[in-house]
Amino acid sequence: MSEAEKKHILVIDDDKTIRKLINHHLNLNNFIPFEAENTFQAFEILKKEKIDLVLSDVTMEGMDGFEFCQKVRENDKHRFLPFIFVTAKNTLEDKSKAIEAGGDDIITKPFDIKELILKIQALITRSDIYRTYGLRKSLEKSFDDVTPKILFVDDDASMSKLFKYNLEKAGYECTVANSVDEAMYIMKSKVPDIIVSDIMMPKTDGFEFRKMVMEVPFLKDIPFIFLTAKGSEEDILDGYDLGITDYVVKTAGPKLVVAKVSAIIKSLGNERKKVISELQEATNSLRTKVVPDSFPVFDKFLISHLHIPFKGIPGGDFLDYYQLDNDNLVVILGDVMGKKWGAWYFAYAYAGYIRSALRSVLQDAKEFSPSQLMQQVNLTVYGDTKISEVFATISILILNNKTMELKYSGAGDIPIIYKNQNGEIFRIKSKGLLLGFSKNGDYEDSIIKLHPGEEVYLTTDGLTDSRAKSLESFGEHRLYELIKNIAPDSDPLKIIHKSIVDFTNGEYDDDISLILIRTTT
């Protein structure tokens, strides 16, 4: 790693020994530490240097760590600077104070240096992701796949009731305002996706309303539909002059309004797609890959995979290969759960995040045990309060080409499939809990001694849950039958791929991933 690539960490602690200890380990792990013994020095360093992450003590003379963090956050430049508190106190109150003050994480003394380094690495990766994605909040807002919200403004209560009923029936959330004043008031706390407004209203009319909306920066771009009783050309032209999106004549009835609203929502969806492709480019440039470009070359083994992203948009599945030393190769297949709910595209970022957390564990792996690797990553994910709602299933294998042993540990994953020399199929179940669910995931290693000409398959639920038009799932049993009957000299991935395409008619609900490990004969 070149000096320029190294990340700068600011360490604030009034205890010299702790500073020295942390600095020593930061240096060992390719970080450049900056030391401050009080917040005064810390501010000076922040002013002069480009800092990538702050590690701060809580109890210090003068200004304490929480206050310091708040002050740092007041500076726009440092609003998203990753900030970890290192504290002797481990109370819930302190934790909530840390989060309130704007901290990203908290580590309690005496701390495990490995855990500290892991947290730093994970936080830096995440902030790199956010930097590329831009502000997280605004992204969530524009991407949340939630029910579109319609604001309906009309002074005629019976009309509002009729439209509200129809819009809600069509799956939209509809809020009614019976005056412009009320509408403006509602929008202070709840920004709609579309505004539908009557023109003729007492006090302030629809045209005035449109003008008012245009003056508010965060409202002006919301699609706006006029509802008019008259349908006279003049009205309509006046409306378009004000940049409305569309108009509907009241007598045309609620169905037409619903249709127009749906059309607009759909076009917003297209906009979304555009942003997604930009996101993909951004992520690609960050090298937050979720799938390797090529298959690993590893003596005595032939390894290949099949990965079909859901609708071409990379989602929650991730694959990785990592060679620990000459004799040991790690194979990883994971699936981030909860794809497509809330900000589903974050599944991609999280998949990248977990993959890089795994990488950092692998870099220092001393014991080649999948369950231990799993537990370390589990701790990182579990302890990260910002992703406490994200869970993942993972299978980790370590292959050894001297002993021909395969060690396997899984977290909530689909059992791996082992086809032995005699063509018999075994389903090997792991016991571990979903990654990130509990502090101790109870991970275990299973060991299989492999022989020449055998096969091991790993997959995620995208494949087994994929459905035919008849709604029937592909299921594990179908996969077993298929694997059982694959001839030794054919390409199993091709055959399975074709079979899934035939079964689902090419329409998947999720990412489809399959890894095949064969021992050479």
Binding site: D145, V146, D335, M337, G338, K339, K340, W341, G342, S388, E389, F391, T393, G412, I414, P415, K431, G432, L433, L434, F437, S438, D461, D465, L471, S473, D509
Partner: protein, 112 residues
């Protein structure tokens, strides 16, 4: 409405009225659960006996809520596994973290 809600003393019983509970409804269901948790309910029973299938996203909404509730000293207990749902919980090892019961009555009683 796909989710039916009932209260018995301090226990909330949510019945999922879906044959296939999937990512389409997962977010809404999560919101229903989060609402109750925010209101201060700590004992929740989810009745899945209508569900022939649940996918991992829907399971995720249960898991998130369970994690939240156990953090608050509460629990989420389940009722009525059909075979495919049972194997889903078995496959993901989640049957180990969720307590399940044969009837809502049993589940409610288990809280007292």
């Amino acid at each position: 409405m796909e989710f039916f809600r009932e209260e018995k003393n301090d226990v909330v019983i949510l019945t999922v009225g879906l044959k296939r509970a999937t990512l389409v409804e997962a977010e809404e269901f999560k919101q229903v659960l989060v609402n109750d948790i925010q209101k201060g309910f700590k004992k929740i029973v989810v009745d899945l006996s209508n569900c022939e299938f649940i996918d991992s996203t829907f399971l995720g909404s249960l898991v998130v809520s369970l994690k939240k509730l156990t953090g608050l000293g509460g629990d989420l207990r389940l009722v009525g596994f059909q075979p495919a749902v049972h194997s889903m919980f078995e496959l993901t090892r989640m049957y180990r973290v969720f307590e399940s019961f044969k009837s809502t009555q049993e589940a409610v009683q288990s809280f007292s």
